[in-house]
Amino acid sequence: MRFVAIFKAVTKNWLRSRTGLFFSIMFPIMMLFIFGSIFGGSNYVPTMTAAFIMTNGIIGLTSTNTEFKRRGIIRRLSITPLRKMDWVIGCILSQTLLNLLLTGIMIGIGWGAFGIRVIPDPLMILMIFLGSVMFSGIGMALSGSIKDVEAASAIGNVISYPMMFLSGVFVPLSIMPTTLQLISRFIPLTYFSDGLKASIITKSMGSILMNMGVVAALAVVFIIIGVLVTRWKEK
């Protein structure tokens, strides 16, 4: 149960980093307002939320973790009986808590500003949870294999921005060329974004379950990769 201690410590650490926390919540809200006011809000609540859960995992967690690595914090923990799995799970759960908080705020804004009447149900929460675990897993996998902080955020950007455009977050997939539509099927964000859209807006059970299945499977894969690439011992 050591992951609980890791979860608590890492969570307290970001909760107290007020500036970082403020902007990581303000940025998505701002983007939601911009896109929502231009194109109409309802679809952007789930897709924007999905996009920011992705960037929080791939850019945010990757940088935080590489910073931990640079400062020797992971190394200090690796000398204790802590197992890599507990470390990875603790960090992922902490990031997931942040994402649940963010989703709550985004839905609240959707409610207030764009007239979306959603009451979070268990399937929706599970969807957000799994999506967040998946992207945080990618974050852990990346930070396990990257050494310096600058490279981490650069690589995070390179991976997440194309994903954002190719998964229908900003522009609907239906207006994209067929090649791009095909590519979008290979992007994890597509499934998460579609699943979230289904669980928040369309409530189509088939779509929820199919997308959730893909996201859950990918989440497991990335956690395993995350554990495998995290190094407890140097050469």
């Binding site: 201690a5 970001w14 020797g72 200090r76």
Partner: protein, 314 residues
């Protein structure tokens, strides 16, 4: 009982050899110090023993467990406490929370309050780590190393970059560890630190152990002769002494230096001075570890160490 047994340990990094076939043991209850300049292979050796790095050749047992076997590594981790070089903790957590985090990694641990008290950190227990001075941060690191009540404590350069006051504070804590009988493995490039704290010292240079023994044994064997200094003497006196004794020199300040072989020689110099009624300032310099190091490696440790000291302690 031996807490550390190292046999012919070798570590290569690509084309350099950081540790070049060293062997030593650390006994239970000892404060064992690796003393040497930066780049001598001290940290590499302790990191191998802490199971943070792999070894290239040789063998090592820590607390009776083999560092190359995965099952044994788990046992080693339960039994050791470590202050790594450049220790850091989570910035936004308090001193207490950071120590607690490390404590939570073990099945059994000491009371956090007791460890905080042992390190004199009571006043700072609820301060955030980011707001601490260098010396306090090191003390948090030592607290974290002790909280699991380990059999063996590794302290890698515990006072590098600290100001003299903070350094003495850390020494006090380490002296306490010695008193309560903890086995400590220390690395340092400060002569004085090794001399004050260690029961046994291995002088490490270029990946090899150049000499090993208690501070006194090392000084006796390699330190050379004691020197008697007579301040502001005249050439006449120097000449008279020179006639009777070997190794008499005079420097430009007018100080006479006489290397003394044994106590008898010292007494006869003193009685000669008394007979001559030469009322002079007299001082006896005993060799230090610095002299030992100079003799063994042919270079001074301090000059090199200072160049590498860039960490601020404010």
């Amino acid at each position: 009982m031996l807490e550390v047994q190292v046999q012919d340990l070798v570590k290569h990094y690509d084309d350099t050899t950081a540790v070049d076939g060293i062997s030593f043991n650390v006994d239970k209850g000892e404060v064992f110090a690796f003393l040497g300049p930066n780049g001598a292979g001290k940290t590499t050796t302790v990191e191998i023993l802490e199971c943070l790095r792999s070894l290239s050749k040789g063998s090592a047992l820590v607390c009776g467990y083999d560092i190359t076997k995965d099952k044994d590594v788990e046992e080693i981790k339960k039994n050791i406490g470590v202050l790594p070089q450049d220790f850091n903790a989570l910035d936004k957590l308090t001193v207490k929370e950071n120590i607690e985090l490390i404590a939570d990694m073990y099945d059994k641990h000491l009371k956090i309050e007791d460890v905080i008290k042992l390190l004199n950190l009571e006043d700072k227990a609820n301060s955030k780590f980011e707001n601490l001075s260098g010396g306090l941060k090191q003390r948090v690191g030592i607290a974290a190393a002790l909280v699991s009540d380990p059999k063996l404590v590794f302290l890698d350069e515990p006072t590098t970059g600290l100001d003299p006051k903070a350094r003495r504070d850390v020494w006090d804590v380490l002296a306490n560890l010695k008193k309560i009988g903890k086995t400590v493995f220390l690395t340092t490039h400060y002569m004085e630190e090794a001399q004050v704290l260690a029961t046994r010292i291995a002088i490490v240079n270029k990946g090899k152990i150049a000499a090993m023994g208690s501070p006194q044994e090392l000084i006796d064997e390699y330190g050379g002769l004691k020197i008697l200094i007579i301040r502001k003497a005249d050439e006449n006196l120097a000449k008279k002494l020179g006639d009777k004794f070997e190794h008499v020199t005079m420097n430009s300040n007018g100080d006479i230096h006489i290397k003394i072989d044994n106590t008898d020689e010292l007494y006869s110099i003193m009685s000669l001075l008394t007979a001559m009624k030469a009322e002079k300032d007299i001082e006896i310099q005993t060799p230090t570890l610095e002299d030992v190091f100079l003799k063994i490696t042919g270079s001074k440790i301090r000059r090199r160490a200072k160049q590498n000291e860039v960490r601020s302690n404010l």
